[in-house]
């Protein structure tokens, strides 16, 4: 338990560092949100409009550290500020739904990829040298070497545009409103097939390899030989003795990967017009929307940290050795 609490403390520090970084980096750069707005309209914005926007956005000339403390103070009160790119919506509102969609997409992708990759890893390791083992790893390594977005674009084009089998964009059909109905969930899943699929294809190889490697390591442990010698069924040895142990190091990787995919789905989201955080962030960066950037960073960081924390807990649950 203290382990979990200690991790929690660490996560708080990590969150703070990442937020602080995110506060200062954009502010040390030239330009401000108003000129960024100008950029978005490619100069079609009147200078007077820019002046007015600066007033509206409440851009101050206070020294940075003062701004920083205000920012931290507001943050602690749960006030993320007002978005600039989506003026005058509060950042929390802009982020809210996007976060859910990103979590859904990334979560789905990671889960599927982890499950499939792990399963393949188990099977390839168990049947070493079989045709599956000689085909699957190199294939998925090769597929995984393609850039995420490249894969996404290709899938989109081939299966969505040319084939017409999958929707081209968005997280759900526009005639449906988010609800927990079966229809909506099915629709959301259907929309997630291509974007999640491209992430899955790109990341499956990693899971496969790491699982296969740990699994092979575990397979040469004495307790596996002993389990075999005990005459247990292959399934039981493979799953309860080998895979269960080989899974442990992979679970840690799982937390990392969740974080990675959460942030890495950015490109996929852009390709699929997926209303998640990735594209928001990109837009926030482009329009120097400090508050939104901070908000997004906060939510991504918190999501990543939460994922890691959950994994920590899962690890404790999975590995009796960490419980004492």
């Amino acid at each position: 338990m203290t382990y979990i609490l200690r991790r929690l403390g660490f996560y708080l520090i990590a969150a703070w560092v990442s937020l602080t970084l995110n506060f200062f980096i954009p502010r040390f750069a030239p330009g401000d949100p108003a000129s960024a707005l100008q950029a978005r309209f490619q100069g079609k914005l009147e200078p007077s409009a820019m002046a007015a926007m600066k007033v509206a956005f409440g851009l101050t000339d206070e020294p940075l550290h003062v701004q920083y403390f205000t920012y931290v103070k507001n943050l602690l009160r749960g006030d993320l500020g007002t978005s600039i790119a989506y003026f005058p919506a509060p950042v929390s509102e802009v982020i809210g739904k996007a976060l859910l969609w990103t979590l859904f997409l990334a979560g789905l992708a990671v889960l599927v990829s982890f499950a499939l990759g792990t399963l393949l890893g188990i099977l390839t390791a168990w049947k070493r040298g079989s045709w599956l083992d000689s085909v699957a790893p190199p294939t998925f390594i090769f597929l995984g070497a393609f850039p995420y977005f490249w894969m996404a674009m290709l899938l989109l084009y081939a299966l969505g545009f040319v084939g017409g089998w999958f929707p081209l964009l968005h997280a759900h059909s526009s005639h449906l409103s988010p609800s927990l109905s079966l229809e909506f969930i099915g629709d959301a899943l259907y929309h997630a097939v291509l974007p999640a699929g491209s992430i899955v294809i790109a990341s499956l190889g990693g899971w496969l390899l790491s699982m296969r490697n740990t699994m092979i390591g575990v397979l040469s442990e004495d307790y596996i030989t002993m389990a075999q010698a005990k005459g247990l069924s292959e399934r039981r040895v493979m799953l309860h003795y080998a895979a269960r142990n080989a899974l442990l190091p992979n679970v840690t990787g799982f937390g990392m990967a969740l974080g990675f995919v959460l942030s890495g789905s950015l490109l996929t989201e852009i390709v699929f017009s997926y209303p998640g955080q990735g594209y928001l962030l990109f837009e926030a960066v482009k329009s120097q929307d400090y508050p939104l950037m901070q908000g997004l960073f906060l939510s991504i960081t918190v999501a990543v940290l939460a994922a890691n924390w959950l994994v920590d807990i899962a690890y404790v649950w999975l590995d009796p050795r960490t419980r004492s």
């Binding site: 520090i13 990590a14 750069a29 040298g129 190199p138 942030s263 490109l267 962030l281």
Partner: protein
Amino acid sequence: MSFFRQLLSNRKANIGLTLLGVFVLIATIGPYLVRDASEFLTTPLSPPDSEFWLGSTSQGQDVFAQTIVGARTSLLIGFLVGIVVVAIGATVGIAAGFFGGWVDDVLSLLTNVFLIIPGLPLAVVLAAYLEAGPVSIAFVLILTGWAWNARVIRAQTLSLRRKDFVAAAIVAGESRLRIMFFEILPNMTSLIVSGFIGATVYAIGAQVGLEFLALGDVSKVTWGTNLYWAANNQALLTESWWTIVPTGVCVALVGFALVMINFAIDEITNPRLRSEGGWKAVVRAAGVTPGFSTPVLRRGSLADSNALADSSAPALSKEAS
């Protein structure tokens, strides 16, 4: 060193190294052999033909030349980031692992924080605010990429530090720096190499991604900007696959080559991973299907020399009464 010799004799490593070698060669001398990659030469979006092997972009640039020239910056950044990331990771990791105590506390906190900070978003934010260009991208990738190596190397240092040869070096009166870099570091060759490769893969991929997002200098010809331009000009809608496929495949091939090398390193450092090809061949040759139980191959199916040597001795049954 035997590690490198082993690497050279591994089949997977050979595939990877050969492939990588080809690309390095392309990156080094290729640009001198092709047309000016940024010149607007021909009809936009002309499909591959005998003159323009991979067709032209929507601006009429030579895709073949762009693919070749793009390799240079992309690989350069990849390797540069790989080297620096490993150097930082190794220094931080070894220092943390070796000194322990508060040094370790501070360094591993830093490492873990950087590990857990969402890398790509940070990279996007950073890249957006630095002067656009390969150097900035490299910087961003280094900043967001070093932590993983530091962590791995720290863990390895911790286990090496417990090894008696480190204690022996201390007892022999060696200085700490010497122990860190002459006793511990050389024992992590494979880890460093695989960390370097991993970082390179990451760097190439992330660079391509960032440039694709127009966060690089799109006036330079790199793999990332090639894809940026292709996407920007709706390569797929205009059905000009040749502007997007070659670069994507090249990125994948380089990634594949690097991962294969890492795969091989895993096999070398972890003998358990090595394939049982020889064993399987022997067993299969004897007409036995390999299963869990030890196969029984009767009468000297292995190394006939052995069997011969033994057959000179009278059969053992002699002593049986």
